[in-house]
């Protein structure tokens, strides 16, 4: 950690990073960014985080396209009329056979120059074919979570969602952070669907999930929109457009948060007793499965949570309390729940979690949400502690 800086500053990521995560989470999506070549290099964070990222194929058409043609943008290039150039870039992207959705936004100083990107996107959208939507840029002040949420909102306004088609006992999850096409995310989605299934709800659509336009538009089949924290506005838009009910829940990370998730949804659909029954069974089982690890390896240790994600931070705080992990510097080498960016530190026992995560790319499903996620997080934290202790002893 750099001296004198708060973790939130160190790990803080800007707007476009979140837009990239969202675009990578929608099959057939392309992104046009009005900006310089750094738009390309920026996508490498997602490329390193997601081993199956589709943003930058070595051969083929790039999913993230920039408008700048110079190594540095100069006043002259920005003050000339670039409409024809940008329209030709839209043409190129829209001519891709797999382009189902084309999003457009701006890179920092391009946000200031009032270029009619939204108007160009609107004109292209009116032509039909691939869905075209403008994501209002917050590149000069927004966070990556704003980028993700605003992209979801743009999609929620743009996709076809017909009212009155929602079915009872069918839910759409809107606001899931699908950060990569790897088994941790697949496990999270499976666990969310399993928890809802336990309440008698079938999951018709997950925003975002890696699916394409059809997956997004399947949200119209849901009579209930489960709003997760990464795209609250999008969830409201989907519910309003489809006429579905809206149920806002927090991230089910850790035992208590998972219980709260089940209770909230259960109460909303009138199945509170069923939720309580699931909780009684599953919470007890999760404690039984993890008690040795928690009591022998984890309880009493110090833990740090460094995230640029308040929802994940809240979930991890709850988890730490459940595991007996304390926030203090006098409990030995601290466990550190953090992403793996430039300030990744060897001074802590690192459990990589959050965005970006370069160090941990599971081959098998390894969720961190719900009861399954609780078991995996205990497993990973205990393994990290024991490895660190062995290494310290060896040295």
């Amino acid at each position: 950690m750099s001296a004198g800086k708060k973790a939130e500053e160190i790990f803080r990521l800007p707007f476009l990073n979140g837009v990239y995560v969202a675009v990578d989470a929608v099959d057939g999506a392309y992104l046009i960014v009005d900006g310089p070549y750094c738009v390309f290099t920026k996508a490498e964070m997602q490329y390193c985080h997601n081993l199956r990222s589709r943003l930058l194929p070595p051969i083929g058409f790039r999913r993230v396209v920039h408008t700048g043609q110079l190594q540095c943008e100069e006043v002259q290039s920005l003050s000339t009329d670039r409409t024809a150039l940008v329209e030709s870039i839209f043409d190129g992207v829209l001519s891709q056979p797999d382009a189902e959705i084309v999003l457009a936004t701006s890179f920092d100083f391009h946000e200031l120059v009032n270029f009619p990107l939204k108007e160009i996107a609107r004109r292209r959208a009116a032509k039909g074919g691939a869905l075209v939507a403008h994501v209002p840029s917050r590149s000069l002040g927004g966070t990556w979570l704003d980028g993700y949420a605003l992209t979801c909102s743009a999609l929620a306004r743009a996709v076809t969602l017909r009212p009155g088609r929602g079915r009872k006992n069918t839910a759409a999850i809107v606001g899931h952070l699908r950060d990569r096409d790897e088994p941790d995310d697949a496990g999270n989605r499976r666990e969310l669907a399993r928890l809802l299934g336990g309440l008698g709800l079938e999951t018709a659509s997950v925003w975002l999930s890696g699916g394409g336009r059809a997956e997004l538009e399947a949200a119209e089949k849901a009579g209930l929109v489960i709003s997760l924290p990464y795209a609250r506005e999008a969830a409201k838009i989907v519910a309003e457009r489809t006429g579905a009910e809206l149920c806002e829940v927090d991230l089910p990370l850790g035992l208590s948060a998972t219980e709260k998730f089940l209770k909230t949804v259960g109460a909303h659909v009138g199945r509170g007793a069923r939720a309580n029954k699931i909780i009684d069974l599953e919470s007890a089982a999760a404690v039984r499965d993890t008690e040795d690890h928690v009591l022998r390896a984890l309880a009493g240790r110090a833990a740090k949570i460094w995230q640029d994600d308040p929802h994940l931070t809240a979930g991890l705080r709850g988890l730490c309390a459940e595991l007996g992990l304390v926030d203090g510097d006098d409990a030995g080498r601290a466990l550190c729940f953090a992403p793996t960016t430039a300030d990744y530190s060897r001074d802590f026992t690192h459990v990589p979690i959050g965005y970006p995560n370069y160090m941990d790319h599971p081959v098998v499903e390894r969720p961190f949400l719900g009861y399954a996620g609780f078991r995996h997080l205990v497993d990973r934290a205990a393994a990290a502690v024991l490895r660190a202790e062995a290494e310290a002893a060896g040295s």
Binding site: P14, M45, C48, P58, Q69, I89, Y358, M359
Partner: protein
């Protein structure tokens, strides 16, 4: 020479014409041209001089005036002197300077002039080859690479600030938006990077402090960005008291007109903290040269030892050790090393050196040698010493420019103890086939000596005994050539024109292929490992390490019995 072994391959010239000038004058050449131009007369000074294909271009300056001269071939064996602009526009003393220059060059043989200037000329890029389009031009700027299914070669021109190491006593200040700061992967995990040679800067920056201004929309609209920049510089200089500050300004603040020049001058004057300012819109080479000026100081030429040299362009500590030993064989002592390091340790006796020898100048073209030449240092800037032939040529050049004997003895002394190991390595390499793939231009870059990389990849593979198979896109059936001897190995040419043909070729007996992609789907479909020019090291020890490294990669093909399960790239 690989050139003779590449039938049907023609140099690609035109839109990617090399940066010019590629060759500039060394110390002796500059001295000779000054003499030839009569001094120059009347207080004029020779500012620059460079060698083109058939002309010497020079600029004379006096105050704010500049006179550009060209000494070209007159069609016989004489020199034709010309200048830019109409004669009638010249002042009297400009005409006098021209008369003196004409008198000096009147009896000069053109061939003799070029031979003399070539003796210690400085090579900034190969004068015989096209400069490869950079990765930025050829990959980053292009959106659709579908038609480039055959392309594997995307050489990178790095930013200098990624390369130079300033040591621990400096502070970095970045004047940028958060969006701009987070425009790359941030943490280098080699295996994950998009390009195979993006494993991180050659420089080491651990220990430097870092300050960023994080410009927001409100700052821009409120007109506060210049104030933020000045405040950041002031705080760092006063509180951290670094040896110097490296300030990086980026697109947005430069677009809104922020200029740190007055703050830089004040910090230097009041606090004695120099600021090295690199920017998106300025030539960074000049900034680093200014740092170099400070390092070198003003030692008079007499205090410099003729047998003491500085080594520049150091790719690794091992290469530095070996080059130091080789130069020692010529009776030279290395007093210090520059580039990528600019934090010269106190023991390095920079001011005693009489010459600068570039070990590997490739990638350092933006750093010119004016600071050395101005102090009377001789400079050797030539092809780097990769491989046997390249190493010998480098040593020859050092001896020739510095007027030394004993090359044969020094080279034999270096070669003999390694000869047996090299032969054993060659026996292993002979069983392996390495593919170089691309269009004619790319294959040229990899086969001809001295192009963009400073060495021939095919030539070095041949020296090591590998079989080199060049898969040439769009070359036509006539370009096919069976394996012929190249060094201790072989080289062959196989044309292809479709994805299917390339895929089949990759599946036929190839062990390793050159690609700048870290994870190349075309190679991974066959479980083939890739490599780049980064696998090669200069020097004889470097050649042995290179050979062992490439052999290890050849042996590292996964799923030996299950490659059918790997996903195809052609569909």
């Amino acid at each position: 020479m690989m050139r003779d072994e590449a039938p049907g391959i023609n140099p690609a010239r035109g839109r990617d014409a090399a940066r010019r000038p590629r060759r500039r004058l060394g110390r002796e050449g500059l001295s000779y041209v000054r003499e030839l131009l009569g001094g120059p007369a009347l207080g004029w000074e020779l500012e620059t001089a460079s060698l083109g294909d058939l002309a010497l271009d020079a600029a004379l300056v006096k105050g704010s005036r500049r006179l550009e001269l060209r000494l070209g071939w007159d069609g016989a064996d004489g020199v034709r002197l010309s200048t830019r602009g109409p004669d009638g526009d010249r002042t009297e003393d400009e005409r006098e300077v021209m008369r003196a220059a004409a008198a000096g060059t009147a009896a000069t043989s053109f061939a003799g002039l070029f031979a003399r200037l070539g003796r210690d000329s400085l090579l900034y890029a190969d004068p015989y080859g096209g400069s490869a389009p950079s990765r930025f031009e050829r990959y980053v700027r292009i959106v659709d690479h579908s038609p480039d299914y055959w392309k594997f070669v995307y050489p990178q021109a790095r930013f200098l600030e990624e390369e130079i190491s300033f040591g621990v006593r400096y502070a970095k200040v970045s004047h940028a938006t958060l969006e701009c700061q987070r425009n790359n992967a941030q943490l280098t995990v080699e295996s994950l990077r998009f390009f195979a040679d993006d494993s991180g800067p050659r420089s080491e920056t651990d220990g430097a402090t870092y300050t960023d201004t994080v410009i927001t929309e409100a700052d821009v609209v409120g007109g506060r960005t210049q104030e933020m920049l000045n405040a950041a510089l002031e705080r760092v200089a006063r509180e951290e008291k670094p040896a110097f500050i490296h300030l990086k300004t980026t697109c947005l603040p430069e677009l809104v007109g922020d200029n740190p020049a007055s703050a830089i001058a004040r910090l230097d004057k009041e606090l004695g903290v120099p600021v090295l300012w690199t920017s998106k819109t300025r030539d960074p080479g000049r900034m680093y040269e200014a740092m170099l000026e400070r390092l070198l100081g003003d030692a008079p030429a007499a205090a410099r030892g003729p047998r003491v040299v500085l080594l520049a362009g150091i790719p690794s500590p091992q290469a530095e050790r070996e080059a130091t030993a080789l130069l020692g064989g010529l009776g030279l002592r290395v007093a210090g090393a520059l580039f990528p390091r600019l934090d010269v340790p106190p023991t390095a006796d920079l001011r005693s050196a009489g010459a600068v020898v570039w070990l590997n100048p490739v990638g350092w073209e933006k750093i010119e040698d004016g600071a050395f030449l101005k102090r009377g240092l001789a400079v050797v800037r030539h092809h780097p010493p990769f491989g046997l032939a390249g190493g010998r040529r480098w040593l020859d050049r050092v001896a020739s420019v510095l007027g030394l004997d004993g090359v044969e003895q020094a080279w034999t002394k270096a070669l003999e103890p390694r000869a047996a190991e090299l032969e054993a390595l060659r026996r292993e390499c002979r069983g392996r086939v390495v593919a170089l793939i691309g269009d004619q231009s790319d294959v040229e870059q990899l086969t001809y000596s001295g192009r963009a990389l400073g060495f021939s990849v095919a030539g070095l593979l041949g020296e090591l005994g590998f079989g080199v198979r060049c898969l040439v896109w769009g070359a036509g059936a006539g370009a096919r050539r069976p394996p012929t001897a190249s060094g201790a190995g072989t080289v062959e040419f196989v044309p292809f024109s479709t994805r299917a043909q390339l895929d089949r070729a990759l599946g036929r007996g190839i062990d390793l292929a050159f690609t700048h992609f870290n994870h190349d789907p075309r190679l991974e479909a066959h479980g083939l490992p890739g490599f780049t020019e980064a696998a090669f090291e200069p020097g004889l020890e470097g050649l042995l390490r290179t050979g062992r490294r490439l052999l290890r990669r050849c042996a590292a093909r996964p799923f030996p019995r299950h490659r059918d399960g790997l996903p195809p790239w052609t569909s």
